[in-house]
Symmetry: D2
Subunit: 158 residues, 4 copies
């Protein structure tokens, strides 16, 4: 459909230390573990997270709940911002807007977050969540526009 919905085709590789730091930070986010979130792609300014539909993550019609869809959308944007931060900084979500454009009725989901503009303090991101059908076809289910902030890293964790 739109050029928004296509994943980037060419991206530089992320420095291995940055990738490790992000994977360690994601591992500490116990909600993401509870939801079964997987890391699908880490690139400079771009992160993809995966989520599988599960009986204990649904809303009242059996689709995946907007709270879970939001969790991966927000986290993909937050880590996309984080890829550009110096090592002593951590990321905090200031605010975001979600549009839920189709029911999350798919077996798998992927949330793509990318940096649109990064300043010293604030980084603006956009992201999309796609439902993936059994034949691999992607359908857009949600849009996010988010403002992230770089904060001094809290000691002992990221």
């Amino acid at each position: 459909m739109s050029h928004d919905e296509a994943p980037p085709t060419e991206r530089a590789e992320l420095a291995p230390e940055t990738a490790s730091r992000i994977r360690a930070s994601i591992a500490r986010q116990t909600l993401l573990t509870t939801l079964g979130v997987s890391v699908e792609r880490l690139a400079p300014g771009y992160v993809e997270l995966g989520l599988a539909s599960r009986a204990d993550l649904s809303q009242q019609h059996g689709f995946v709940h907007a709270g879970a869809i939001t969790a991966i959308a927000d986290s993909a944007c937050g880590y996309a911002a984080y890829t550009g931060f110096p090592e002593d900084r951590d990321v905090l979500t200031v605010d975001f807007s979600m549009s839920l454009v189709a029911p999350a009725a798919h077996p798998e989901f992927v949330a793509a977050g990318r940096v649109i503009r990064s300043g010293r303090t604030l980084t603006i991101c956009r992201g999309e969540v796609y439902g993936i059908a059994e034949d691999g076809e992607r359908q857009l289910v949600a849009l996010i526009q988010a403002t992230m902030m770089a904060v001094t890293r809290m000691s002992g964790n990221a």
Copy 2:
């Protein structure tokens, strides 16, 4: 602080059938059960949902994850809208904006959602999430502004 943050003092009672329908709908939202969400108050155009901090719901610093905070904020607004719908309608979130104003570092949370204006198709809501300290003091942690849609109820569920 602001008049936004005070819960309503006087509200009419919700019809028992409507309250039952909402409790049944919430019970079908398995993500809310997974997160441990409780119904704290149901009134016409106003709903409060509770959430307790838990080791498996955290972000990277041990605070409750924004995804869980969003799930209760969105759901409180959705059910607040739903209290005013005819019996054959169901509620769908169109979009929402979340502002995360303080770390969700409290043992308990309550999300209040209320109807600001309801039209035939769309209902506009606002809500707040408060962290509740051990001494019972409330602190605002998040704001939501949401657009909800009334849709024809899907057969067999709500």
Copy 3:
């Protein structure tokens, strides 16, 4: 209707120097002059701006255009934030969400903006725009939720 829609009844007075600084800053915003915006109230963390309907400010049905409604909503929030800033700081809008809940078909409008939470860098505000009928009755026409940033004041202006 909701407790959101009532204007505050008791507010401390704003320091006269701060009020002067805000009036001078508003006077430099030539778009506000072009639109005919008036200052209705300045209090700590709370600002009201007025706008009169005019033939050259309409959308396609003759109602006041959402762009003009947004201009007063955003400015009321920005100056509400500004009332709490030190003298050497200026205010910048980071982002906002507007919900347009009723047609702006009234002869007069007032936008109320107020601070919900102020941090060192960011201040979160909410606001409402009301249409005022000829008999003085107010009707809610728009909601705003906004993130403002304190920045070092640019020399020679505010």
Copy 4:
């Protein structure tokens, strides 16, 4: 930078009657005339509007006011949605989120709005506003994510 920022390269032509209807509707939006807004491109699901910086459209630092930037962003999205509506429908903005990512310090601006997903009642759009330097270089200044509604056309106008 991002694939969001590139204008579409290939788009079908808009039916001449639809283009006429949109131009007539824009002409009735007197605020757009007051601001000096121009139609730069009309294509199915995609609209570009232009704005020139002017001394009477500024905020307190002489940059173009966010209210004017919002007016073209919202209108570009609204008309992008409108290109897909049947003849008897009109477009209404339900809500939108704006992120202001850089000062609007340029001599010219263009707002691009495009449809992301269109349903029977609601159409979700995204848009960007670019500042255009004297050498023609474009810089992103604002992002919008908007929800539009198709309503029955009001008699006698569009």
